[in-house]
């Protein structure tokens, strides 16, 4: 029981919320917000109690200290998303759909939890689907808006296609090895052409989910069309969980053909960082802008994956942790401004500092952290990723990544310049944010600053990542 406690707790609160939902009349749906957030907070806190690592159901489900910690990271992220969404959920057009939002979010979180502690490809696949399909419904949450409905349809089609490719790869792995368990498959991976092709299909399927170039084309449209809070969830939590299990499978199951996949990742990393950055330069809509910036950030994460070591695993997890706080901070500000004023373009942010100094400050810190400016956590995240890649001798790759960091600094600074320096005749009026939004942004800022200054978190992740590679 204790081994699976994260998942069982989440299922329990999902069922509780489902039952509460039934008894709430249509006009009282907003009363579910506070219990949902409190229950999620309770699950997050309980998750931090020391647990027992172990294997359940004959290797189908495996829980280690590392997966437990990553589940805690995901819990924190989802909690922040919940808190940030309250302002948006209380709007008139969403009032009757509040409980569905929480239920679908929790279901995806359950899927991710099972996915990251799966010990079997079938389990992994079901978890992956549970983590993707409900998000499509969430992306179409404001379905009367054409763009939101379009985002939902695009997400479900692209994820169906990528799942198909992934399953084709998995079927080949099953065909060549005769088993689906990670532990049994790993020694049977010998690098015969069929297995290499299977790996490429698996890689392509996962690259769709993580939105790596050249499988990124759905990202910008979906991120732009979906409601801001769903976008932030997609770009941070979904991506983080997929990256984590992807790295684990690469390191454990496919470790024997590491020579082959490191070449593949080398090329994909360069493409992802460069294309993501160059397209981000051209964006005017902030959601599209953050979408391309998140593609570029996914490319940076691959630098840690290519590190192929305990250090590589550590840097990936550490960067995801930092990225959660930074990106949720940026999306939090974009979300509150978009909800209150409907403005999403960079030009609209001209002179924001004069009217909303606090929001601009949070946005500035978040963008600095995403760009990697020293005192903030984002700098250390990127720095460690570069170290991991450099230790394996990928100096040219690190150089290209560094050049791209400079490019990314330029476009992040463009937004900051608009907020702080540009003058506007019609700046966004003063926004009085409610306490939920303030709390959400405060947690993000605290995360960015504290993680940057406490090295013990990195040490802890490093010690837990031992023995994976």
């Amino acid at each position: 029981m204790l081994i699976m406690r994260h998942e069982l707790l989440l299922i329990a609160i999902t069922v509780i919320l489902l039952i509460v939902e039934i008894f709430l009349p249509n006009t009282q749906k907003h009363k579910i917000i506070l219990p949902a957030i409190l229950l999620m907070a309770a699950v997050t806190v309980i998750g931090f109690f020391p647990g027992t690592p172990g294997v359940l159901f004959g290797g189908m489900f495996q829980s280690t200290q590392l997966t437990m910690m990553f589940k805690n990271i995901l819990n924190i992220g989802v909690l922040i998303v919940f808190i940030q969404s309250v302002d948006w959920l209380k709007q008139d057009q969403n009032k009757e759909k509040i409980s569905e939002f929480f239920l679908l979010m929790l279901a995806t979180l359950i899927g991710m939890n099972y996915m990251i502690s799966s010990g079997d490809f079938l389990m992994f696949y079901i978890g992956l689907e549970l983590a993707t399909i409900p998000v499509a419904a969430l992306a179409a949450f404001e379905r009367l808006k054409e763009k939101s409905a379009e985002a939902g349809v695009k997400l479900i089609f692209s994820s169906a296609l990528s799942s198909g490719i992934l399953l084709y790869g998995l079927s080949m792995i099953y065909g060549t090895t005769g088993t689906m368990y990670f532990a049994d498959v790993a020694p049977l991976i010998t690098g015969v052409p069929l297995q290499v092709l299977a790996f490429i299909f698996f890689f392509a399927g996962m690259a769709f989910k993580i939105s790596l170039v050249p499988f990124h084309l759905w990202t910008a449209d979906v991120y732009e069309g979906a409601p801001v809070n769903v976008t932030s969830y997609l770009s941070v939590i979904s991506k983080g969980a997929a990256v984590f299990i992807f790295t684990i499978i690469l390191y454990t199951v496919f470790s024997k053909i590491a020579v082959m996949w490191s070449d593949l990742i080398y090329v994909v990393t360069i493409l992802t960082i460069t294309v993501g950055n160059l397209f981000a330069l051209r964006q005017q809509n902030l959601k599209r802008f953050l979408a391309f910036s998140s593609i570029a950030q996914a490319g940076f994460i691959l630098l840690g994956v290519i590190g192929q070591s305990q250090l590589g695993m550590t840097t990936v997890i550490y960067f995801v942790l930092v990225y959660i706080f930074s990106n949720l901070g940026a999306f939090g500000v974009v979300g509150i401004i978009s909800n209150r004023t409907g403005k999403e373009n960079i030009n609209d942010y001209d002179g924001l500092y004069r009217t909303n100094p606090n929001l601009s400050l949070v946005m500035m810190l978040a963008l600095f952290s995403l760009a990697g400016i020293p005192p903030l956590a984002g700098f250390f995240g990127k720095f460690f990723l570069f170290t991991a890649a450099a230790k394996q001798g990928y100096y040219i790759l690190v150089l290209i990544a560094l050049i791209n960091t400079i490019i990314s600094l330029y476009y992040y600074l463009l937004v900051i310049k608009a907020m702080l320096l540009n003058n506007s005749d019609h700046p966004i009026a003063k926004i009085r944010s409610d306490n939920y939004t303030r709390l959400g942004l405060l947690i993000c800022v605290a995360g960015m600053v504290i993680i940057g200054f406490t090295s013990s978190i990195y040490e802890m992740v490093f010690n837990l990542s031992f023995g994976l590679y």
């Binding site: 759909k97 279901a107 079938l122 389990m123 978890g127 409900p134 419904a137 179409a140």
Partner: protein, 166 residues
Amino acid sequence: MFTEYIFHFLSILSLFSAVMVLASKKPIHSVLFLTLAFFAIAGHYVLLNAQFLAVVHVIVYAGAIMVLFLFTVMLLNLNKDEQSQKPMWVKIMAVIAGGMLMLTLIGILRKYDIQSVQDPMTTQIGLVKNLGKILYNDYFVPFELSSVLFLTAMVGAVLLGKKEQI
């Protein structure tokens, strides 16, 4: 020997109908050819002694999903010849990309020495009894998790189908 003839017949039938799904001009013809393809694949399952899979395949795909497809084609009145025309270079690129994938697949499968294959007639793995045992022993957690997936899918459907005041 007899099964070999059936195998060849079913293979040709499924490939032919799969090509016709893409090649037919009218959507309704595509849907009907797709049904034919599903039946041919179900025949393959029977040849592999996987009767349960064959029956499920016919019921779910050829039954439920195809009826949905037909309804959609009928209700949206798609039965007109108005396919969007792609530019020529897109078609050429698609043919090159697909052809390369096909060449790779053929080459790899020719090279691969299939050893671990078991005779489906002797293992009896595809029978309902054995399948149930595996499903409820080895694959119990994914099986139960898929029920959570269905619950969530229902919640999502309710969310998208809810009546909204504007």
